[in-house]
């Protein structure tokens, strides 16, 4: 019962976060200034997702794996050059596995 209740409350809080702007955003979400701000959210979110995957452990900031950093850079540069996300993912995974298996890092 505790497990179900915890999930229900967690889901309620999560939905409130998602729906808040839909219910209360009003004219704010239509304004050009707000649109300008939200355009910057996308690169910020992406950078934070990458950075937190590399630099955060369970207890805060952690030293990143060299292989992981190289893999992310390789994926970034691959997509930058080709525009192909799947290719970036595959090349990044291969770079990570190659570095770990050959013991280069």
């Amino acid at each position: 019962m505790t497990v179900v209740l915890t999930f229900v409350l967690a889901a309620a809080v999560t939905f409130a976060m998602r729906a808040w702007m839909t219910v209360a955003g009003g004219r704010l979400v239509e304004s050009e200034r707000f649109a300008e701000l939200t355009r910057l959210v996308t690169p910020a979110v992406l950078a934070v997702m990458v950075s937190s995957a590399l630099l955060l452990g369970h207890d805060g900031a952690a030293r990143p794996s060299v292989a992981a950093v190289v893999a992310v850079l390789v994926a970034f540069l691959t997509v930058r050059r080709t525009g192909n996300l799947v290719l970036g993912l595959v090349v990044g995974l291969v770079a990570n596995a190659g570095l770990l298996l050959t013991g280069l890092v």
Partner: protein, 239 residues
């Protein structure tokens, strides 16, 4: 053929192509690949926390939020209190307020019950895809079909991989690097979003903020870092 019709996620907003379902399938595929290892990890963690299969699946379906679900599972495994767990979930999911602003804009012409329904499965991936594809010229029906397709794929992959992770109940070889898949996809997307100096500043500020604020912000690190990145990007930080 336009960039959109070819399914390339580029940096330039594109006009709506003919078939939103096919385009959503193509756009979402890399995210689906990247979601699978995460789903396996959450399923595996549910076993470790002592959850039943029904409890784990209930949590997956009612939340549709991977990081927060993992936090709940770990909290349950450690026997932490209900209030503490819910507060952590709120902090982790604070970024959904930003995403909700996007959804409110995309679906603003729909009826409120529909908008609320569409807000329910909003996650990192659907926010990023929507921002990329929902140009002002794209009509509401097209947006809804694209969004519903992407959501169905992502939710199916995430819940399905949790089922597998729960069944396996053991770890995968670390050399596969599957835990890195989401970061690789996000890095790839970032590569095509750094088109203006403001965007580059926002990204750099946000990335640097993560290790700097992690010790203070704890589970709120992600939304705080996003907020700081946006502040840097707009120049407000230096004024």
């Amino acid at each position: 053929m336009s960039a959109a019709a070819e399914g390339q996620l580029g940096s330039t907003p594109v006009a709506a192509p003919q078939d939103p379902v096919m385009l959503a399938l193509r756009d979402t595929a890399p995210f689906v690949v990247a979601l699978v290892p995460f789903g396996l990890a959450v399923g595996n963690a549910s076993v470790g926390a002592g959850l039943t299969f029904a409890e784990a699946m209930f949590g997956a379906l009612i939340m549709l939020a991977g990081a927060a679900q993992l936090a709940v599972v770990e909290s349950l495994g450690r026997g932490e209190g209900l209030l503490a767990t819910v507060v952590v979930v709120a902090l982790i999911n604070l970024r959904f307020v930003y995403y909700g602003a996007g959804a409110a804009r995309w679906f603003g012409r729909a009826r409120l019950p529909v908008r609320l329904l569409l807000a329910f499965p909003l996650v990192d991936q659907t926010f990023l895809l929507g921002e990329q594809r929902f140009d002002d010229s794209v009509e509401l029906g097209w947006r809804q079909r694209y969004y519903a397709t992407a959501t169905a794929l992502l939710a199916g992959a995430f819940v399905g991989s949790q089922v597998v992770g729960f069944a396996i109940g053991g770890g995968l070889p670390p050399e596969l690097g599957l835990h890195l898949a989401p970061a690789l996809v996000f890095a790839g997307m970032l590569a095509s979003h750094l088109t203006t100096s403001s965007a580059r500043l926002a990204a750099a500020g946000a990335a640097l903020a993560v290790p700097l604020v992690a010790g203070v912000a704890g589970p709120a690190t992600v939304p705080v870092a996003i907020g700081l990145g946006v502040a840097v990007g707009t120049g407000r930080w230096t004024r």
